[in-house]
């Protein structure tokens, strides 16, 4: 084991890639395609889905029923990725996503996780003191709103559908998507017009 860990990273990577091809698990083209897909994903993808859900009730229903299919509809490829669950924030409940075990994150629709999402501090505190964590982001919700912390431990990845901010009546999808940030879809922040 220690010999593996000490091997130069690029030699080890080349060996693993050669084995994947030799064993027929993945071709170099498939690996290149997946890297490209992973690098291309960003919060802009999730933001487009949120904006569509705010303007199209049928799309909103699809998004809440099957997030991966809703992503595909928007041209975001989810093949080979875990199922995507979408949690809707309402006047009654606000969701906050964390992975206390590691850093499970809906990469297909939000891209690479922000550094703090993987930090021991966020992971430990989000489950125990969600309002305190959110307050540090400037997010203070009324006491009457229930806080549901979603600990992403297994086969699903979770994204939050935030509430549409006031003052956005008549906005088109592109305008709406522009106000949706990464943190809004994790639940540490809420979008503002």
């Amino acid at each position: 084991m220690s010999a593996l860990i000490e091997a130069p990273g690029d030699r080890l990577l080349a060996a693993v890639r050669a084995l994947l091809e030799a064993k027929g698990i993945a071709t170099p083209e498939e690996i290149a395609q997946r890297i490209e897909q992973t690098d291309r994903a960003s919060p802009a993808g999730g933001a487009r889905m949120v904006a569509r859900a705010w303007t199209d009730p049928a799309y909103r229903a699809l998004l809440l029923r099957d997030g991966a299919q809703a992503a595909e509809v928007m041209g975001i490829h989810m093949r080979g990725l875990p199922p995507l669950g979408v949690l809707e924030n309402t006047a009654e409940v606000h969701h906050l996503v964390v992975c206390t075990l590691c850093s499970c994150y809906p990469r297909g629709v939000l891209g690479y996780p922000p550094f703090w999402f993987k930090s021991p501090g966020y992971r430990a505190r989000a489950v125990r003191d969600p309002r305190g964590v959110m307050a540090e982001w400037g997010t203070v919700l009324p006491d009457a709103i229930r806080i549901s912390v979603v600990d992403s431990t297994a086969d699903y990845r979770w994204m939050v559908l935030p509430r549409r901010p006031a003052g956005t009546d008549g906005w088109d999808e592109a305008q709406l998507a522009a106000v949706v940030r990464e943190g809004d879809m994790i639940g540490v922040t809420v979008p503002a017009a």
Binding site: I147, S148, V149
Partner: protein, 92 residues
């Protein structure tokens, strides 16, 4: 066994990590705690076997809700919603 939404369940107070190498997706803070099944999310290969390249049976996976105050008296949220595999759950 297929657990219905609303079922009260207790997470097994089991610590496989004390017995040897393992890969566990059930957070420490929930072992021995009681929660409520919210919904069946689907059936997925057991990650505890997948991690060691062993044949993995498909297990029912549930969303289970816990009152945070039963875990930490000073906890602030209303609920913690967690994905848990059926073998970790027992009737409460």
């Amino acid at each position: 066994m297929m657990l219905a939404p609303g079922s009260a369940v207790r997470v097994r107070d089991d610590w496989p990590e004390a017995r040897g190498p393992c890969h566990i997706r059930t957070p420490h803070y929930l072992r021995g705690r009681t929660g409520t099944v919210v919904r069946h999310l689907g059936d997925f290969p057991n990650p505890e076997d997948l991690a060691f390249a062993r044949p993995a049976a498909r297990l029912p996976l549930y969303h289970v809700a816990f009152a945070p105050q039963t875990v930490w008296p000073d906890a602030g949220g209303t609920e913690i919603l967690v994905e848990l595999y059926e073998p970790w759950l027992e009737p409460a």
